[in-house]
């Protein structure tokens, strides 16, 4: 499974989301590769991804995709990330 975390600049917030998504997947016992990128590159980076993780503010910038878009409000809340990923990958 491939998961992409995106942010506006491709550094900082997407890297935090990537790290905490990896922790959440570990909790769920799900094998997945998580990458971080910026919203401008999401078309290429997420072309074969199953899940895109992002902020509610960035959803409108993502464009057409076959991946499930999972919106995370609090990037530091592992319970929120775990619960939302469980639905997306389940």
């Amino acid at each position: 499974m491939k998961i992409v975390a995106i942010c506006g600049a491709g550094i900082g917030t997407s890297a935090i989301l990537k790290l905490n998504a990896e922790r959440a997947l570990e909790r769920l016992g799900v094998e997945a590769r998580v990458s971080a990128t910026d919203v401008a590159s999401v078309g290429a980076a997420a072309s074969d991804a199953q899940v895109i993780l992002t902020s509610p503010e960035l959803v409108k910038h993502i464009g057409a995709t076959n991946a499930d878009i999972v919106v995370i409000d609090n990037y530091f809340d592992l319970d929120e990330i775990t619960a939302k990923l469980e639905i997306a990958v389940g």
Binding site: C7, G8, A9, G10, I11, G12, T13, A15, I16, L17, L19, N20, V39, T54, S55, P56, E57, L58, H61, D73, N74, Y75, F76, D77, L78
Partner: protein, 147 residues
Amino acid sequence: MLPPLPESAIRLGAAATDWQDAVRLCGAALRDSGATTDAYTERMISVIEEFGAYVVIAPGFALAHARPGSDVMTDGLAVVTLAEPVRFGHPHNDPVSVIIGLAVTTTDEHVGAVATLANVFNDGAVIPALAAASDDETVRELLGYTS
């Protein structure tokens, strides 16, 4: 793994009229610490103007940043807390009273700093404690700097 956090990079209980003002305070703190020039501050604002308030990644907390560039002299971190929180326009996490400014020289180098920040802030008590901090030492302790 966090960049140094000198006194010049910490502004506690600052006054900001809006989010641009708050990000400028953060940019000024990064500049005064020697990490960036004012051009970086304007780029941090541009990112939010272009992509919205996605930098508000937790309730009350914004991570202001932009890509590496010639306006970044060295990796830097700044901490700004506001006496009165301001709205960035995030649907769930407004208003913001704690802003961390991050500047990195290369995208590779930021990963260690970001991992440290994630470890610190995964403790949900840290943001309100930072918002209430009244001295630099408390801020450094909360962020895991050892003196």
